[in-house]
Amino acid sequence: MIFNSQTLPANDNVNSYAFCMDVRGEAFIQKGKMIAYYGALRFESVSAGAYDALVRQSFNSPLYANDFVVATGQGKLILGDRGNNIDSYDLEDGNLTVRSANVLGFEPSLVCQESTVPGYLTLLGTGKFLASSNGPVHFIEPPVRVDEDALLGWADMPSPSYRYDYGYMRGMFGMARSFVGGRSSGEEKQLDFTGQGAVLVQSSEMGLVGRSNLDDVIARTSSLQQNELHQLLSVIQQRLQNR
């Protein structure tokens, strides 16, 4: 099947791993995810200041301003993400929180805000957005506990909390802490979801590489006192020595 600008799907998947956006006006996309386009499109960094009004209306996450670009003009834009699966989601006056590295693009009718859970973005309002996943996405109804590496996001729900296995907890309190750490199953910490809504899980534990975690830590250091910063420094030095 050979596609051209007319036969390419409009706002639909080209195959499981590529999505074609029919851009008429403006759209937010993650930096570096454009693989091809037809038509007259321009790409401008969100942080460049050229689309101030647009950013004020729909992009409310300074931490991720460098990770997104605004595509403007008229054309068919194909997005891909390292051969990962791509799906589109339609929100109708709803909210959906997704791991920031997996948010590939969204319409400006949505508002993008930082989630209180580090490394996640919340999209609010009505419109379409795109997310990638390693393997197909599964929707699970709470109550459910999910491995953090397999979690893609959650919809219409309060934020999750961490749930630790009892054996791991006991190890933390007792003298046998290091001993327990040595025989951990790697599954002693999960995210616990309760309430009404849906949890999105990818069929793999492969996290996508993103700078968001580091950015988040760096951003949070601005609220620390001087003695706290020194404490953080010594923790980091200790971690580096243990590597």
Partner: protein, 206 residues
């Protein structure tokens, strides 16, 4: 002519009857019959071709498989796309090449200054004649048509190859903000004009 068949999306089966097929070195995962594998030192291009390839940084370690039987080829579980050539010429990134018919003529051509920025070398590989080419793609490959009134822009990292009467240009979308470290991440693209087909993969080359 050797018979290329996709055993599944990620595995290529080549049936040989006293024939020879060229493939990326180390891509054989299984075979049956009487088949001999040889390292192809000159890549079927003679001494001058091999030197040009080395000088251009378009390295392509190849092996030749000859005999009678079936050879199964794969590369890192990437998807395989078989492209038939009928007295045509295909331009293909050597990093995307899996196997090709022994009867095809290979060459390297200057591909412009993109090598300096995308790290793909200054040269690209061409295959010409009558036969089949197997390319690897990270995710299902997409075929996009280029026509005179419909030019196509492609991210250099997603580019696999093209065939037909197509012209390739390097387009820099540079503005002053790019220089102060606020690049949009899409500031250079390949522009294709003319008439033909461009093959891309839904992934940025790792």
């Amino acid at each position: 002519m050797t018979a290329f068949r996709l055993e599944n999306k990620r595995l290529l089966e080549v049936t040989l009857q006293n024939e020879r097929v060229m493939a990326r070195a180390g891509s054989m995962v299984a075979y049956d019959g009487q088949i001999k594998f040889d390292k192809s030192i000159l890549g079927g291009e003679g001494l001058f071709g091999a030197l040009k390839r080395r000088a251009g940084g378009e390295g392509m370690p190849l092996m030749s498989s000859s005999g009678t039987g079936r050879v199964y080829l794969a590369e890192n579980a990437a998807e395989v796309v078989v492209i038939p050539l009928q007295q045509e010429r295909i331009f293909i990134e050597s990093s995307s090449l899996l196997a090709f018919d022994d009867g095809l003529r290979t060459n390297t051509v200057f591909a412009g200054l993109r090598g300096a920025t995308s790290g793909q070398g200054l040269f690209t590989t061409t295959l010409e004649g009558y036969g089949q080419v197997a390319a690897i793609s990270d995710g299902t490959a997409i075929q996009l048509e280029v026509s005179p009134h419909d030019p196509l822009f492609v991210d250099p990292d997603a580019f696999i190859g093209y065939k037909g009467d197509v012209r390739q240009e390097f387009v820099f979308d540079v503005n002053w903000k790019t220089f102060v470290g606020q690049s949009s991440g899409e500031s250079y693209q390949l522009k294709f004009t003319g008439q033909g087909v461009v093959y891309i993969q839904p992934s940025e080359r790792r």
